[in-house]
């Protein structure tokens, strides 16, 4: 079987990529790059304990599970249950809750047709993180642009819009 792991003289191995789908979340404790794409009104919440090297990414669609009709077997669908599940996952993976910081991306208003889900998602994320005493250290939210996110091992969040330009959020 061929192996894609480079030898000693080869280029450095690229970190593995963990894709986070819509309404989903993932936690890593290595140098993996967490990615999520096609954020419109949805919001991505990236939380890290940088000292422990534990990071997690959530791609939530709606602000709150309380206002939705289907039961919520999928906590990542909602901002509130998603942040709670993400923090639980980070702590289970070795993070210390008092060392966590958060970065927010998304929550755009792309369409006039739909109710302002994007701003509601942003507000809900801020409230939930505030209640959990997790500081927001960087964000790129609102406006009317779609975004794709990479959460890299250094803890930086790199955002790309439809124009293809990438930038690290501050």
């Amino acid at each position: 079987m061929t192996s894609l792991t480079p030898g000693e003289d080869g280029p450095p191995a690229r970190p593995r990529r963990v894709r986070v789908g819509v309404g989903d979340l993932a936690v890593v404790a290595d140098d993996a790059t967490l990615t999520t794409s096609g954020l419109g009104s949805c919001i991505a919440v990236a939380i890290a304990d940088r000292r422990a090297g534990v990071r997690g990414l959530l791609h939530a669609m709606l602000p709150s599970a309380a206002r939705s009709r289907p039961a919520a077997p999928r906590p990542g669908k909602y901002v509130d249950t998603g942040i709670d599940a993400l923090v639980d996952g980070l702590v289970a993976a070795g993070a210390v809750s008092t060392r966590l910081d958060a970065q927010l991306v998304g929550g755009a208003e792309l369409l006039d047709l739909t109710a302002a889900v994007g701003p509601q998602n942003i507000d809900r994320a801020r409230q939930r993180l505030n209640a959990a005493s997790i500081p927001i250290v960087a964000s790129d939210v609102g406006a009317d642009v779609g975004r794709t996110v990479r959460f890299v091992a250094s803890g930086d969040v790199v955002v790309r819009a439809a124009d293809g330009f990438e930038r690290t959020i501050e």
Binding site: G21, S41, L62, R69, P70, T114, R147
Partner: protein, 411 residues
């Protein structure tokens, strides 16, 4: 045959897990990480041609006979143009294309069916794999009643080579058919109920669950009729475009697909798209999006405008695409409303131009307050001469659609 809408969701969950196992099996074989990106399930008419049963266009793959937990047959189809990319990842000499496809297909299909066996709690026996292709009549050979529908699962694997595969299950009387029906067959209650309680959190197997299943059930004939309506609407839309632009326009693919709403953005993809979005009012209400890739949008707008626009997708192009979206949407919903004997109207067009997945995410979010799954009408409309194609995503309110379908079955 009565098909339960919620049970289709359960089938989809089983298929997702099966596709993940297929991807894991291919990852082991090729040494390249492959992840499942999209899984959808559609129901095809039993009388469809073999090519249409397993996949659209040219494909190669394998067929196996099934017994045990599922009986009947299963066909796995790889897109013929893309399978070479997968075969190149294989160790050793992949020049023997037939045997390589058979081996890879058999491994992927085995992985997929393992997922089903696991959830059914019963082993599924497979006959030796047989190489088949789109024009091979053996692909759709089946046992049991030919009135049974074909369930088609489509998955896209994310890898160096974007690889699509689809799996058609041609079930004979089995617990699987009962899954789609939403109620266990007598004597095999434990099998079907076990699968249900796991995938639906148990609410189908309770008394209340059965009542719920009854309200979401539609006959298979009604579902197929709706699927054919979708095609009819697409034809009307194509005719409208042709009348408006003078460009010869055809519908390539038109199909009703049942997908988790959260998979819809990934199905559109991350490439920039331009197009129009509409809100639908009436029965059913919902949303409709007509999306072109950027180059297609620019070409079709250019073809519609009397003079070359100042910028490729500027204000003039926006107006042209909105006008085009209007005539297409009118064509689509007029066709449905006439046959469904309902009234559907649409909002003015809203122009979108962004990452494809992002343009549909607000629509998906709005609908997902009430439902987890959606019917997506996939239509690819192609205009000749300007090489432009678009995809149409129709996301109706699930309950209203079911009500309309039930009325079709019981007028």
């Amino acid at each position: 045959m009565r098909v339960d809408v919620r049970a289709l969701g359960a089938c989809n969950r089983l298929a997702e897990r099966g596709a993940e196992r297929a991807a894991a099996a291919l990852t082991d074989l090729t040494g390249t990480a492959l992840a499942v990106e999209v899984t959808g399930v559609s129901v095809a008419a039993a009388g469809d041609s073999p090519a249409a049963v397993a996949a659209d266009g040219e494909w190669v793959g394998v067929r196996v006979g099934l017994s045990g937990g599922l009986s009947g047959a299963a066909v796995l189809a790889f897109d013929a143009d893309r399978v070479d990319g997968l075969l190149e990842l294989l160790p050793g000499d992949a020049s023997l294309r037939h045997s390589a496809v058979t081996e890879v297909g058999n491994i992927a299909l085995g992985g997929f069916l393992d997922g089903f066996a696991n959830h059914l709690g019963r082993a599924i026996e497979l006959t030796p794999p047989q190489y088949v292709s789109a024009d091979d009549p053996v692909a759709s050979t089946r046992e049991g009643s030919t009135d049974d529908p074909v369930f088609r699962f489509e998955s896209r694997l994310e890898a160096a080579t974007n690889l699509d595969f689809s799996i058609a299950l041609l079930p004979a009387a089995t617990p699987f058919r009962d899954l789609a029906r939403g109620r266990p067959r007598s004597g095999e209650a434990n099998v079907a109920e076990g699968a249900f309680s796991e995938v639906l959190g148990g609410d189908i197997v309770t008394g209340a669950g059965h009542a719920e299943a009854a309200t979401t059930g539609v006959t298979y004939d009604a579902l197929l009729r709706f699927a054919s309506l979708a095609a009819e609407g697409s034809e009307t839309a194509a005719a409208n475009i042709e009348a408006m632009t003078g460009l010869k326009t055809t519908v390539d693919v038109s199909r009703l697909r049942f997908v988790p709403l959260t998979d819809v953005p990934a199905a559109v993809g991350t490439a920039p798209h331009a197009g129009t979005v509409f809100e639908l009012h009436g029965e059913p209400s919902g949303y409709l999006a007509i999306l072109f890739t950027e180059p297609s949008a620019a070409r079709v707008a250019d073809a519609m405008l009397p003079m070359e626009p100042d910028e490729p997708l500027g204000e003039m192009a926006e107006h042209a695409l909105c006008e085009l979206g209007n005539v297409m949407t009118s064509g689509l919903i007029d066709g449905w409303a006439n046959v469904l004997e309902t009234s559907i109207s649409h909002s003015p067009p809203e122009f979108v131009h962004d990452i494809g997945a992002a343009t549909v995410s607000p629509l998906v979010a709005a609908l997902s307050r009430r439902q987890d799954y959606g019917f997506v009408v996939d239509a690819t409309i192609r205009t000749r001469g300007v090489e432009a194609r678009c995809d149409v995503y129709v996301l109706p309110d699930e309950r209203e659609l079911v009500a309309v379908l039930r009325r079709l079955a019981d007028p």
